[in-house]
Symmetry: C2
Amino acid sequence: MKTNEATTSAPAPAPAERLRNFGFLMRDVSRLYAAYFQRHARELELTLPQCKVLGHLSRNEGISQARLAELSDTDPMTLVRTLDRMQQDHWIERRADPADRRAHRLYLREAAKPILNRMWKIADQCRQEAMASLSPEQREQLIELLERVHGTLSALEAK
Amino acid sequence: MKTNEATTSAPAPAPAERLRNFGFLMRDVSRLYAAYFQRHARELELTLPQCKVLGHLSRNEGISQARLAELSDTDPMTLVRTLDRMQQDHWIERRADPADRRAHRLYLREAAKPILNRMWKIADQCRQEAMASLSPEQREQLIELLERVHGTLSALEAK
DNA sequence: CGTATATAATAGCAAATGTTATTATAACTC
DNA sequence: GAGTTATAATAACATTTGCTATTATATACG
């Protein structure tokens, strides 16, 4: 393993290296994609975690924070802070749960609803740009494969 | 522990939703994978960014910080701090560049070399476990597709 | 040459995130 | 039904990361 290829700007990766960089590759794509989305979502005045919350909430109004944390795969404490901010910015509200005095039920406020459309529009566009070089079948494949890996990792995490 | 249960009020993910969640999916997989790796890498006493540095450095000893930042797709300021820590822990050293008095050249210290093998071993194992449900062709495909998206996003970022 | 601009590394502060502990309430057990 | 254990939400603190200068040196230009 002493191949020295200080050629130009991009090192030509050996097959073994390519495999080994899988984790870093995932991480880089994820980071780049998030950055690209945020660049376009700046006008919304929403961070990425806030968008995630909004998305889940729009399909599950009235859920508890604990359930939202589950759905969105977010640490409950992190979620508290995201929600604090969103409440303060009048995107959402917390109502007391009549059946469980510990819990809150989460609702979108009216102001959030028009934003949702714009958010999805931006998301759709970013995704299409990021996947511009993939055929429709390949896009489907990529998602499918990622979902499989996600499932495996979720199971491993639980142990 | 979250995706496919649709226990109570969660509707089955419509095809459009699946697409739309691409970004979040990427992010989740990346986070889960990183967490899984770190869990196994704890014995190395290395963080993930440190592992990344080590990997790149092992194939490119003598490069500058700026170049390493490029290679590893890391913010230069973030890299400084990672390197500070690694220097202090005796994994690497910074030597003055004789040709450019602003720059440092980075080298692994002897102590780091045996660690590298263990690191790759852990990485290989984690990757195999994460991809356990994929065929060899699918693994290759996944990497290929991610690389394509990475390329596209890198180009978009530059603009 | 000497001045303008770019680059390598870093400092210092603000924002985000992870970690552990705390409080209130619910659910379970004997 | 009294005491233990589990859960929802949060607070307080530590760590990490991102952002905006700052300094020293190198390169480009006229």
